[in-house]
């Protein structure tokens, strides 16, 4: 009797846990906002302004998802996460999705049970040093003190790079980008290493960006993208196809400017399917027909988001490079909407 009761209790506990995991999309729609994990503050990618509004390249993905599934791009609550806390926050259900300069790796996907829904920035790890040091290459860094964000892939790449080049270094593990910046600027470390996009963004917030150089070496592949937990393919699909909608929109020439015109119907069937004027792609996702229109209206297509937050016209000044559309020689490529 005790035993059956006890087994019953365990089963009930597991079932409630199972139910809670099953329907993130419904949960999100019911609570009326997307809980989105972002960085603690990296200008251009995710940073809060003086009024507490978040802006940035990663933030824009969260807003597009909220616009598509809830209908309001402002219906996002942001949870700042550090390199260390981000996966626990996602696995434990504290956040619905994570968009935080996070590299897609085998062990994160397979072992940590996370689902990367795509890649929104192809990056690589680099080094930044004060120009005054006169260092021209990362192999000149023997004996240098290196600031590094703990809990990141960059920490492991760094160890591998110095080991395989047979040079020594002194790692200074740091929790957030802001602290790393403080230590680096005060000269407590000679070098700051992280994703090159992150270096560019950090440098752009310095008083004299020109006094710092990013070394030419790229020591790793860092494909960054948004992710969700394993076990809820429906929600993963929703986030994945919102990202793909933003990418396809750029490829198809749909911008926030001509959205209304495109939504009125065109003679390109793929545009029509994306805009919901033909077929019912939204219904398959459990959304309405206009989901992709709202996602694009939130901040523009992929290219517009890129230009607005980190592109060449901004202080961060990143060129599209690998992140150009495949049709322009880059790697950004969305599967077809069909």
């Amino acid at each position: 009797m005790k035993r059956t009761l006890y087994i019953g209790a365990v089963a009930a506990g597991m079932m409630t846990a199972g139910v809670a995991v099953a329907g993130t999309l419904e949960d999100v729609q019911a609570k009326g906002h997307v809980q989105c994990g972002v960085s603690t503050g990296l200008v251009g990618f995710a940073a809060a302004d003086a009024d507490g509004n978040w802006h940035g390249f990663d933030v824009a993905v969260c807003r597009a998802v909220a616009a598509a599934v809830i209908g309001d791009s402002q219906a996002v609550k942001f949870t700042p996460t550090t390199g260390k806390t981000r996966f626990t926050a996602l696995s434990s259900g504290e956040i619905d999705m994570l968009a935080r300069n996070t590299t897609w790796t085998y062990s994160r996907d397979v072992d940590l049970k996370l689902t990367f829904v795509g890649i929104n920035y192809y990056d690589g790890q680099g080094f930044m040093v004060p120009a005054g040091l006169g260092v021209g290459s990362a192999t000149d860094l023997d004996g240098a003190t290196v600031c590094i964000q703990t809990g990141t892939t960059t920490e492991l790449n760094l160890a591998d790079f110095f080991r395989s080049n047979n040079i020594s270094y002194e790692p200074v593990p740091i929790e957030t980008n802001a602290e790393a910046q403080q230590q680096y600027l005060a000269g407590a470390c000679d070098v700051y290493t992280t994703d090159r996009s992150g270096l560019a963004a950090t440098r752009a917030s310095f008083e004299n960006p020109a006094d710092h150089v990013i070394l030419p070496e790229i020591i790793s592949k860092e494909p960054l993208g948004p992710l969700v937990r394993h076990g809820d393919d429906h929600w993963a699909d929703a986030v994945r196809w919102v990202l793909n909608a933003l990418i396809s929109a750029e490829e198809l020439g749909i911008t926030s400017g001509n959205l209304a015109e495109m939504a009125a119907g065109t003679n390109n069937p793929e545009i029509n399917r994306l805009m919901g004027t033909e077929g019912d792609l939204g219904g398959m996702l459990g959304l309405d027909k206009e989901w992709a229109q709202r996602a694009i209206a939130a901040g523009g297509n992929y290219g517009e988001i890129f230009e607005a937050h980190i592109g060449e016209s901004t202080a961060i000044g990143l060129a599209r490079g690998l992140n150009a559309q495949w049709s322009d020689g880059g790697l950004i490529y969305s599967p077809p909407f069909r």
């Binding site: 006890y6 049970k113 040091l133 703990t150 760094l158 593990p173 000269g187």
Partner: protein, 418 residues
């Protein structure tokens, strides 16, 4: 007589477990115990089952995998190819190091502040009160970060020592470099050193150090023996032989001979590349953590010491003064030995607090066990539960160890009633 036989003759009935006061309390305890164990069992099975449902069954084999990350402060040999287990051990040693340094400093500072706070000098006692209240009432994390920030922002970077017009220079006869990355102090080097011995192949210890410590220990022991002998002679003859030079000689001369034999010299820090090389490098993170933890805990210890002293009745002081003892001797010979009995038990918990507070280390990037096992290892392997369990076990063992040692000491100094 008749009554008792009637009572024992009464047969045991089940309802007596509840209605009979002789059994009731036991019944309640047994039921509570069963309930508690069931709850614990349910929690554990539930966790284990949920974890395997998530595809993450409890598994400690990750400890044998290469850690792949580097640790800056290494008291044992370590490379990024070593295992997570070894990385954890290195972290544990770093925890022990900062805890030991912190406890010693906190005791010294706390003892002094506690006594000075009772000083009749108004300014001194006020200053001590300000120190105690200032440190006691601000979270230790803020002190750790403040000390670190002060070091980073106000001290010169190693670059400032370079070149023709260097803006910073070494201190103490050019032997100590104080930089914002930490302090470099001279290190002992031996030109005719004995090398290292390997312990179980896991780590190696310098033979020079062992020989030096052995000789020093023997000298101290011999000096103690000489002093005891002097005590005995004084007891029996009333005249105390002069032994201070013998004792100093016993302690100082053998180590000096050993050091010369081993070809002792000081290795001074010198600028090389990006950093200083040579010398012992005390990282800014170690210094910040150590200072903040010691000063914070010292404030609590000061209050314990003050309480202990105040607990000794004023009559003792007056009696000692009446015997003609000077204030300093009254403190050292009469008050403190008695106060110690009151001070030590709460002191133990201060040491435990300091050790546990050292887990804030990662705030300044000090790689203690929370930073290695509970930080990078946990993060890179995703084995949260396993790492946290191990971490709890480590701190538990550490705390129990500290308590055991201090309880033993407490037994020794405790008032022995005869």
């Amino acid at each position: 007589m008749a009554m008792t036989s009637e009572m024992t003759g009464d047969r045991f009935r089940l309802s007596m477990l509840i209605y009979d006061t002789r059994y009731r309390s036991q019944t309640i305890q047994v039921v509570a115990m069963i309930g508690f164990m069931l709850l614990a069992a349910w929690l554990i099975t539930n966790t284990v089952q949920n974890l395997s449902a998530l595809g993450k069954p409890i598994d400690f084999s990750f400890l044998g995998e290469p850690a792949s990350y580097d640790i800056n402060q290494r008291l044992l040999e370590y490379t990024s190819r070593d295992t997570h287990l070894r990385a954890s051990v290195l972290g544990l040693i770093n925890t022990l190091l900062v805890a030991a340094m912190g406890c010693v400093t906190a005791t010294i500072v706390g003892g002094m502040v506690g006594i000075l706070r009772l000083s009749r000098n108004w300014l001194i006692s006020r200053l001590m009160a300000i120190y105690v209240e200032g440190f006691r009432n601000v979270p230790v994390l803020l002190w750790i970060i403040l000390v670190m920030a002060l070091m980073i922002e106000s001290l010169p970077a190693p670059r400032a020592f370079r070149g023709e017009n260097a803006t910073a220079s070494l201190q103490v006869f050019d032997s100590v470099a104080i930089t914002n990355r930490g302090v470099y102090i001279p290190e002992p080097l031996f030109s005719r050193g004995l090398g290292d011995v390997s312990v179980f192949g896991a780590f190696s210890i310098s033979l020079d150090l062992i020989v030096f410590l052995a000789v020093l220990g023997a000298g101290i022991w011999a000096a103690a023996w000489v002093r005891k002998r002097a005590d005995r002679i004084q007891d029996s003859t009333g005249v105390r032989p002069v032994t201070w030079w013998q004792r100093i000689g016993l302690i100082v001369i053998p180590p000096v001979i050993v050091l010369t034999a081993l070809g002792f010299q000081l290795g001074l820090p010198a600028l090389k590349g990006f950093n200083f090389a040579g010398g012992i490098y005390m990282r800014n993170s170690l210094i910040a953590l150590w200072l903040a933890l010691s000063l914070y805990t010292a404030a609590f210890i000061a209050e314990t010491v003050r309480g202990g002293i105040l607990a000794i009745s004023k009559g003792q002081t007056e009696a000692a003064a009446a015997l003609g003892l000077r204030p300093r001797r009254i403190m050292g010979l009469v008050i403190l030995p008695q106060a110690l009995r009151v001070i030590i038990p709460p002191l133990i918990s201060q040491y435990l607090n300091l050790t546990k507070n050292s887990s804030l280390a990662i705030a300044v990037g000090y790689m203690d066990i929370t930073g290695t096992l509970g930080g990078i290892t946990m993060n890179q392997t995703g084995r949260e539960l396993e790492c946290i369990l191990l971490l709890m076990l480590c701190y538990l063992a550490l705390s129990l160890g500290i308590s055991a040692v201090l309880n033993w000491y407490n037994e020794r100094v405790k008032l022995k009633e005869r």
